[in-house]
């Protein structure tokens, strides 16, 4: 039994998006519509593939968890998909979602790089 | 499919004959290289125009001695990303002096059309209903090439810079 969501990149700007319950594409993985049964998964994929304004839709495996302080979270299974969902691990400033474990605690990138120069 | 030549869609007067097909009594035919190599005598005796189709792993050097008997050579693009036929066309035009039609078949698309023209193709099997004006625009967007190719009327930039009339 796996939980899956549909993801793609938006055509206009390439930003990572997830197909939501309302049929709209959201930038946030937590908005993603989760499919569990085989036919729901198939339907999710065919709906994603029919969408005109996204590029390269596909399904990813996720789990639903409730980490402390973050509420209900949809967490992609692989680290590659977590990087897609949360943003580059080296740029907390560009994070789509601050998931503490995602960033190296010693990565103080803001100090050396994004300090306004 | 349609046949594009000299910027216009025209009627194709050639018939492609597969290897297991019989020839009709009259009419211009395009045959495979294998068919040509095996049956060139009977094909010559028909006294009709002969075209030979080369797959892109077949070198045009195999027919250089026969070019006087051949009026058309068809080169194949199984995918537009497979660029072997560009080299074959240039060799036929520039090295072997082939004056007949060089026809592009397969995955022939608008954005590769100008490159094909420059390499010596002069006929194109294209999807029906293409936007002819758009195809022409694509050619005009590349009318100042840096390098000489098989289109002798297009001088490379360096020839224009130094007032040199001919590319070669």
């Amino acid at each position: 039994m796996t939980l899956q969501v549909a993801t793609a990149n938006r055509l206009s700007d390439g930003i990572v998006v997830f197909l939501g319950y309302d049929g709209e594409w959201s930038r946030h993985v937590d908005d993603a519509r989760i499919a569990e049964r085989d036919d729901d998964i198939a339907e999710l994929l065919s709906e994603a593939e029919a969408a005109p304004l996204v590029v390269g839709p596909y399904l990813i495996k996720v789990e639903v968890c409730s980490p402390e302080g973050l509420g209900r979270s949809v967490r992609p299974e692989t680290y590659k998909e977590r990087i897609r969902a949360y943003g580059p691990s080296i740029h907390p400033a560009f994070a789509k979602k601050m998931v503490p474990e995602h960033f190296d605690p010693s990565t103080d990138v803001s100090a050396v790089f994004m300090n306004g120069i | 499919m349609s046949l594009l030549k000299a910027g216009k869609i025209i009627t194709d007067t050639w018939t492609r004959i597969e290897d297991d097909q019989e020839f009709a009594e009259a009419g211009a035919v395009i045959v495979s290289l294998e068919c040509w190599l095996n049956e060139s005598e009977s094909l010559r005796k028909r006294n009709e125009p002969i075209g030979v189709s080369l797959r892109n792993d077949q070198s045009p050097s195999q027919i250089i001695d026969d070019l006087e008997a051949i009026s058309l050579i068809q080169l194949d693009f199984p995918a537009y990303t497979d660029g072997r036929a560009y080299s074959a066309a240039r060799l036929l035009r520039q090295r072997y002096g082939f004056k007949g039609e060089i026809r592009a078949a397969g995955n022939v698309l608008r954005d590769q059309y100008p490159l094909m023209l420059r390499c010596g193709f002069d006929a194109f099997i294209v999807n029906e209903g293409i936007d002819l004006a758009g195809w022409q625009t694509s050619v005009e967007a590349m009318d100042t090439p840096y390098q000489p190719a098989a289109d002798n009327d297009t001088r490379p930039v360096w020839a224009k810079r130094h007032g040199i009339a001919q590319a070669s």
């Binding site: 206009s12 190296d104 990565t107 050396v112 790089f113 | 590769q112 625009t137 000489p148």
Partner: protein
């Protein structure tokens, strides 16, 4: 540097208009993604992990200060305020919108820049020596030839759909800084016995899945035949290079499978015809291009500068920067200044818009308005007066570009890795950052001495890991990031391919593993011996034992 004439300008602006129209067809739905993808790639536009990525060509790594300012403006207006210099002397923007790319390309065309052929299976940006024109040992200026090849290869009708991408490097110096032996074609300028200028031509070098060192296909090619010879090689490759397997499609595999002697025969046979077919340039055109690369008017200066010497003593960080980052210039009183884009803990090769503007201003003030990009992802100000070096360094340091680490362990080459790249298996940048912090102490870095540490996030090897004295390759092992260590690679004139040592290390272990390698080197090096020399003397044994112990070593 080279300045466009009306023909160059019209070619680039035609291309912008063509791409604007193509983007319009894509956004309207007339073109499918499958049809559009090769078109956008031909214009340097990738779709990466988080967004589109636009790779802009910096021909042979040479930029004027207005071009650098334009890149900064693009970063600020259309991106997120920064950009990334690549291992091929190009620059990448990580967050452009598809809709904006025609405008970006139009902006770039206003300063004679473009993104043509920065992707796709065509002839890519030509690599040249970042010290070209200012290196005392140089035989000839590689930029002249790189520019001629750039023009010849731009929109080449026959070679736009090759079996695979194709990279050409030119070097004019006996000390190779271009990784010439790791290019599909490497051109080494040389003189024949009679003093005529020409090239030794190498073919079949490359990194990636199957790293290979280029083989000599021709010992001496007279300069006037350069383009016909290239055309002959490319034609043989276009016809015979493998197209059944993308990982076996580079010319190195053709060289390997055919044999260099058989390939040479084919190339020479082809060339015997091509050289009669009008491909080669008239001397007037070579002279025209060469006239763009003549020496500037240098001041007549003494060999030494008193304040330069004193400042090194007074300010030890400056002293370090002089030792690591400055290189000798062919003119007395001048130096070549390398600007490190590897601050401790930064992303290798990344620069902010403000830093780009600062470099442009400093280039105007101190280095004749030109900037070069090195494939090590650093910048070069090539014409700095010794007497200006201290002021230059102070100003660089103010914008965190004064790191004194060129050629040292923290001068890490790293691809963007999985933080950006859709192909990557593991992250590169965080590993580079952790290594830089581990070795942050500059006394320790100088003690370790000359060392290249290269990191790639996948087997495609954009981070040149096989060519690093120490190489790190990110791999995915059952959903976890692991890192394979290689030792003994080198990208210079004594090119060698690094050897894998032992099993891969976890993300948590890799920094310790590198430190173990370094400590081992420090304990066994002979006096004054650089890491690579120690490795070549001892082989991998002592390093393997230190990393894995005697037992595992025997078992492996």
């Amino acid at each position: 540097m080279y300045v466009y004439d009306k023909f160059d300008n019209s070619l680039v602006s035609d291309r912008v208009e063509q791409f604007r129209e193509q983007v319009g067809r894509r956004l309207s739905g007339e073109l499918t993604e499958d049809e559009f993808k090769p078109i956008r790639l031909m214009n340097g536009l990738y779709l990466q992990l988080h967004a589109y990525m636009l790779r802009v060509a910096i021909p042979y790594g040479l930029l004027s200060s207005p071009q650098m300012r334009k890149l900064a403006e693009v970063a600020r207006t259309y991106d997120r305020g920064y950009a990334h210099f690549t291992t091929r002397q190009n620059i990448q923007f990580n967050w452009p919108r598809l809709e904006d790319t025609p405008d970006i390309l139009e902006e770039l065309s206003s300063v004679e820049m473009h993104a043509i052929q920065t992707s796709g299976n065509c002839i890519r940006n030509i690599t040249a020596d970042q010290f070209a024109g200012v290196d005392a040992e140089e035989l000839d200026d590689s930029r002249v030839w790189a520019e001629l090849i750039r023009q010849w290869s731009s929109l080449h009708p026959e070679f736009t759909f090759l079996p695979r991408k194709f990279k050409i490097a030119v070097t004019g110096s006996p000390h190779d800084r271009t990784a010439v032996k790791f290019h599909d074609i490497g051109l080494i300028l040389k003189h024949d016995e009679d003093g005529n200028l020409g090239f030794e031509v190498l073919v079949g070098g490359g990194l990636g899945r199957t790293p290979m060192i280029g083989r000599t296909v021709r010992e001496f090619l007279p300069q006037q035949y350069l383009l016909s010879y290239l055309e002959a090689i490319l034609r043989v490759y276009n016809q015979l290079g493998r197209r059944d397997n993308k990982y076996k499609a580079r010319i190195k595999i053709l060289v390997h499978e055919t044999g260099i002697d058989a390939l040479r025969e084919m190339v020479e046979e082809e060339w015997s015809h091509v050289k009669e077919e009008g491909v080669d340039l008239p001397f007037a055109e070579v002279d025209r291009v060469r006239s763009h690369f003549t020496d500037p008017t240098y001041d007549v200066l003494p060999d030494h500068d008193h304040s330069f010497a004193v400042k090194q003593f007074e300010d030890p960080m400056f002293g370090r920067w002089v030792r690591a980052n400055l290189a000798p210039h062919k003119m007395p009183g001048y130096v070549i200044a390398n600007v490190s884009l590897k601050p401790i803990g930064g992303a290798p090769g990344d620069v902010t818009a403000a830093q780009m503007e600062a470099v442009a201003d400093l280039a105007d003030k101190y280095s004749l308005g030109e900037i070069r990009v090195a494939h090590e992802q650093n910048l070069v100000l090539a014409d700095v007066k010794m007497s200006d070096a201290y002021s230059l360094w102070k100003k660089l340091d103010e914008v965190q570009l004064g790191t004194p680490n060129l050629g040292l362990i923290s001068d890490i080459i790293a691809c963007p890795g999985l933080d950006y790249c859709a192909l990557a298996n593991a992250r590169s940048i965080p590993v580079a950052q952790r290594l830089q912090r581990r070795f942050a102490d500059f006394s320790r870095q100088f003690d370790i001495g000359e060392l290249t540490l290269n990191i790639s996030g996948c087997i495609n090897a954009c981070g040149h890991h096989h060519a690093g004295h120490i190489g790190i390759l990110g791999v995915d092992r059952r959903g976890e990031e692991y890192y394979q260590l290689t030792l003994g690679g080198s990208a210079d004139e004594n090119a060698s391919i690094g050897k894998i040592v032992g099993p891969a290390f976890s993300n948590a272990e890799i920094v310790d593993a590198v430190e173990t390698v370094i400590d081992t080197y420090l304990s066994i090096r002979a006096n004054g011996e650089a890491f690579i020399d120690t490795y070549r003397r001892t082989g991998e044994e002592p390093f393997k034992i230190a990393l894995f112990g005697e037992k595992q070593n025997v078992a492996a």
